[in-house]
């Protein structure tokens, strides 16, 4: 078994998760506060990758990333960044694809905190940012962990989008899910089975780990 696709997948998942922690958590915070119709539309858009066929997402990304496209052309000429059939492109696609896995659980956890927690912090003179960092975020740690692990695992499992905009290039876009597909197509069922088992083992252990941790952890009275 060629381990390159496994490493590539882990790298993709790690980078995607890191990016989503940075942009997804503040986004969740923004969404958790007073709702407006505009926010509901944004939230629905964020949820879309959860339900939209990967082939539809892949198709639009292919069009957007294609060098024929103005923005992609400009990116390519200016920064020498090509998005289609490239690792940066996969990262961007994965960020979009896994966004709801980070945003939704964090958002609902924030909404489930009693409002009086933030209010108490305000009456102590603390601004919303301090309140978020010192009061709200520390009290949704289990949800944050769950969101992080599921985001990571879900990115490991990304397939359809990569199939369309990745192109199965070894070491660049040939992630494990594609390697399984490729091995099956090459009738190399031994490799397909090995990749599958590795992926299954990694994701299963992660999911189990989170579940058991969430069961046995010091339970906050808020959940």
């Amino acid at each position: 078994m060629d381990l390159l696709p496994i490493w590539l997948t882990l790298k993709l998942a790690a980078i995607t998760t890191a990016i989503l922690l940075v942009i997804g958590v503040p986004l969740a915070w923004w969404l958790s506060a007073k709702r407006s119709v505009f926010k509901i539309i944004i939230e629905a858009l964020i949820t879309m990758p959860l339900v939209l066929p990967p082939s539809v997402l892949g198709f639009y990304l292919l069009l957007a990333f294609s060098p024929q496209n103005g923005l992609s052309k400009w990116l390519h000429n200016t920064f020498d960044v090509q998005l289609v059939f490239s690792f940066p492109g996969l990262v961007l696609a994965s960020v979009i694809y896994s966004l709801p896995f980070m945003v939704s659980p964090v958002k609902s956890a924030l909404q489930q905190l009693p409002v009086s927690l933030a209010q108490a912090s305000y009456t102590l003179g603390k601004n919303p940012r301090e309140t978020f960092l010192h009061v709200q975020l520390p009290n949704i740690k289990p949800s944050l962990l769950t969101a992080t692990v599921l985001t990571f695992a879900h990115t490991l499992g990304e397939f359809g989008v990569v199939l369309m905009i990745g192109g199965n290039i070894p070491g660049v876009t040939r992630v494990a899910s594609i390697a399984v597909y490729d091995a099956v197509e090459q009738m190399d069922y031994t490799s397909a089975n090995q990749y599958s088992l590795v992926l299954f083992a990694i994701t299963f252990i992660m999911v189990m780990g989170v579940f058991i941790y969430n069961k046995y952890q010091f339970k906050s009275p808020l959940e």
Partner: protein, 228 residues
């Protein structure tokens, strides 16, 4: 950076031999990216970073050439051979009547729109006036590779594929097969092009030339392809 060669799915078995032979001769490593000819053409159109495209027909490379993805006309490198193949004997012995029996539940062919081997399989069935009759049994493979998967896992009773599958020494599944009469389909004239980004890439050009060399021809031949 290694060379990236996009290959029509039917070439998968023979490519392994070509890669190792070329590596032995030149020390150059090649990454092969396999798919149906149409799928690969679509990827190339959208910016896939491939150096050479080896199609299962001439139409796709010609289209890419006309659209400016290459500065050179496509070049023929081999002619493919269509076979029908299955795990059980029943489906392939006297296949035109066998596939009409109830013993044959599913027949796989490549998607005619993107896989030239599927296109000729459909053509052969149509010539025999069988296509309409067996249509409810037909399943479409995304490429000839997927057809091979369906055959070797036994998901279908029979499938139309390439002779190189049978000649592939690494294929351990015992297969029963029969040639499809070459009069039933337009010759599968497989062509390739050197893509724009490989322009001036000495290694790419070297492999491109190698593919029409006598050494390569011998390998193609041993996998059942016709070369001249």
């Amino acid at each position: 950076q290694t060379l990236k060669v996009a290959i029509a799915a039917n070439l998968q078995p023979v490519m392994k031999a070509l890669q190792s032979d070329f590596k032995k001769k030149t020390g150059i490593t090649i990454d092969a990216i396999s798919g149906s000819s149409g799928n690969l053409s679509n990827q190339i159109k959208n910016g896939a970073p491939y150096d050479i495209f080896m199609s299962a027909d001439a139409a796709f490379p010609t289209m890419l050439y006309k659209q400016g993805f290459s500065q050179h006309q496509p070049v023929f490198y081999a002619d493919g051979v269509l076979v029908i193949c299955g795990i059980n004997k029943t489906a392939v012995n006297n296949w035109p009547s066998a596939i009409q029996t109830v013993a044959v539940k599913k027949i796989a062919i490549g998607n005619p729109a993107i896989a030239p081997y599927g296109k000729v399989a459909k053509e052969a069935l149509e010539k025999l006036n069988l296509f309409i009759k067996v249509q409810p049994k037909i399943v479409f493979g995304e490429s000839i590779s997927q057809v091979n998967t369906y055959i070797t896992t036994g998901a279908v009773d029979a499938g139309f594929t390439t002779l190189s599958l049978i000649r592939d020494p690494s294929n351990k599944t015992k297969l029963n097969w029969a040639l499809v009469d070459s009069k039933l389909y337009t010759p599968i004239r497989q062509a390739m092009i050197l893509l724009r980004r490989a322009e001036g890439n000495k290694q790419a050009i070297r492999f491109y030339k190698y593919l029409t060399s006598s050494a390569a021809k011998a390998i193609f031949k041993s996998y059942g392809y016709h070369v001249n």
